[in-house]
């Protein structure tokens, strides 16, 4: 019994050491394991496609990193980064002062306004007064949740939180919500879809608040990975300059998502 235990523990240690050696070179790219068109969405063969997937491929090629796509649950994505389950977050995560306390970000790689959508037959503005008394759906752990809690809840709205943006959109289409607040591009993609076009339309963009809505979307990196951050920033700059960014963006958008 004692000998078997010794042998087993040595084997386990060797196996782990071997795994450590192999794992050292990869960069695990994390994003939410949900459909988030047009940035990331799964297709039937298990591959992920979308603007952000192309962006990730471009900067990994540019920075010569061996990237591995690793979808994780959105509500645990920052702990997944800090506990080294993933190495970077390329999942439409906005750069906010609150998040900067825990993790670091690269330079922004896109910036789009925040919009509110609602049922076609409802007429209201995307303001605290317009949303008073309404039930708004947001995704957890996002700038939209913080914004809605700060501006709309004091005005008398109720906020319902969902694990994924997709669920919020579905509940809006099902009539369980009066409004959904999220990134304008992903909401546009929803409104263009069959389900979205039938039920809802855009009510407008919300008033900006950089402290909450952030200064754009960046690549999430651990605070201690300064070298990786440098590589990624250089790659972002390079693909902006050499036209790669424009090339794959043209496939999805007819305007420049990089924003101001």
């Amino acid at each position: 019994m004692k000998n078997t235990l010794k042998i087993l523990s040595v084997a386990l240690a060797m196996g782990l050491a071997g795994a450590a050696a192999v794992a050292a070179q990869e960069v695990k790219v994390g994003f939410a394991a949900e459909p988030y068109p047009p940035f990331t969405s799964p297709d039937a063969s298990g591959n992920w496609e979308g603007w952000e997937v192309e962006f990730q491929k471009a900067i990994c090629a540019e920075a010569k990193l061996d990237c591995v796509i690793t979808p994780v649950a959105w509500d645990g994505i920052i702990p997944a980064l800090t506990t080294k389950k993933i190495d970077v977050i390329i999942g439409s995560m906005s750069i906010t002062p609150e998040r900067l306390k825990t993790i670091d970000f690269s330079d922004k790689y896109y910036n789009t306004p925040t919009a509110v959508i609602g049922p076609k037959d409802a007429k209201f503005e995307a303001t605290p007064e317009g949303l008073a008394g309404k039930t708004i759906g947001v995704q957890v752990s996002t700038i939209h949740q913080d914004y809605a809690n700060k501006y709309f809840v004091p005005a008398g709205a109720t906020v319902k939180e969902y694990q994924t943006q997709d669920e919020a959109n579905n509940d809006l289409a099902a009539g369980r919500l009066d409004a959904v607040q999220a990134d304008s591009i992903t909401l546009d993609a929803f409104l263009k879809s069959e389900q979205g076009a039938a039920c809802c339309d855009k009510k407008g963009n919300v008033k900006d608040d950089p402290a909450i809505l952030g200064a754009g979307v960046g690549v999430g990196i651990r605070k201690e990975d300064t070298e990786l951050k440098g590589k990624i920033n250089a790659a972002i700059k390079a693909i902006r300059e050499n036209g790669t960014y424009e090339a794959f963006s043209k496939k999805y958008f007819d305007f420049d998502v990089y924003g101001g």
Binding site: M1, A13, A19, A33, P35, P42, V72, A80
Partner: protein, 243 residues
């Protein structure tokens, strides 16, 4: 009828090759199976160790095992899964860094097996402990009287004799393991339930995909039941039929 029946029964969505999602569902199902088998086996190993620790170990070992089983039996599986998946794997990495190995990449499958295994281990401990206690004490005393070493007693007398008592409980634990894998969807692991939700979310055919996933799980349960009946019949041969 206001409803469009076509949207409920678009069977092509279930096709095995893309753009049908049937293949993705089956891949998720295989993942679920892998975790269930791995977790169940790990649970059995932990269960055997735990049962022996509880029955034959010293007082401190017995108390530690009691803590282990009490915590797992008192805390919801979902919370345990979160704890083990996030905190547990982080703790392992930190321990390894302390010892000098450097952090390792625990991939999703291994983490899932670890999580299900730890939970199943506590349940198996209880089932096996009950089963071992049901073995007539005289048989074990006789084995010891023959001068068999503890290992021989365990492998030749205790384990085979307790199997018929353990099988109902263990077979239920297998069924529970297959269903607990669905909870890993909450941590983002690509098993059947999460793939179903992704497929349903992308195609908006919710009823179709959730029902299809239900059929897969049900098929697994029914097939398992057939095998369980066979095993139980084999193990209980020679037993007086209990009413």
């Amino acid at each position: 009828m206001a409803a469009d029946p076509g949207s409920l029964v678009n069977w092509s969505l279930l096709a095995l090759s893309p753009p049908g999602w049937g293949g993705a569902l089956l891949r998720g199902f295989v993942n679920s199976l892998q975790i269930a088998v791995g977790g169940y086996s790990l649970g059995l190993v932990l269960g055997i160790g735990g049962a022996f620790g509880k029955l034959y170990g010293g007082p401190i070992l017995r108390d530690l095992m009691e803590c282990y089983t009490t915590i797992v039996r008192a805390v919801p599986e979902l919370v345990l899964i979160l704890l083990l998946y996030y905190a547990g794997t982080d703790a392992i990495n930190q321990l390894l860094t302390l010892v000098g190995f450097g952090s390792i990449d625990i991939n999703g499958l291994v983490a899932g097996i670890f999580v299900i295994g730890v939970v199943q281990g506590a349940y198996s401990t209880e089932v096996l402990r009950g089963a071992i206690k049901a073995v007539p004490a005289g048989q074990i005393e006789a084995a010891r009287a023959y001068g068999m070493s503890p290992t021989k007693v365990i492998t030749r007398v205790t384990l085979p004799a307790m199997l018929p008592y353990a099988i109902p409980g263990l077979s239920n634990l297998w069924l529970i393991a297959t269903k607990d894998t669905a909870l890993l969807a909450v941590v983002g692991f690509s098993e059947l339930t999460l793939v179903t939700r992704q497929a349903a979310g992308t195609t908006k055919s919710y009823l179709l995909f959730f029902l299809a996933a239900g059929v897969l799980y049900l098929a697994l349960t029914l097939v398992s039941n057939v095998f369980i009946k066979m095993i139980e019949r084999h193990a209980r041969r020679g037993f007086v039929e209990q009413s």
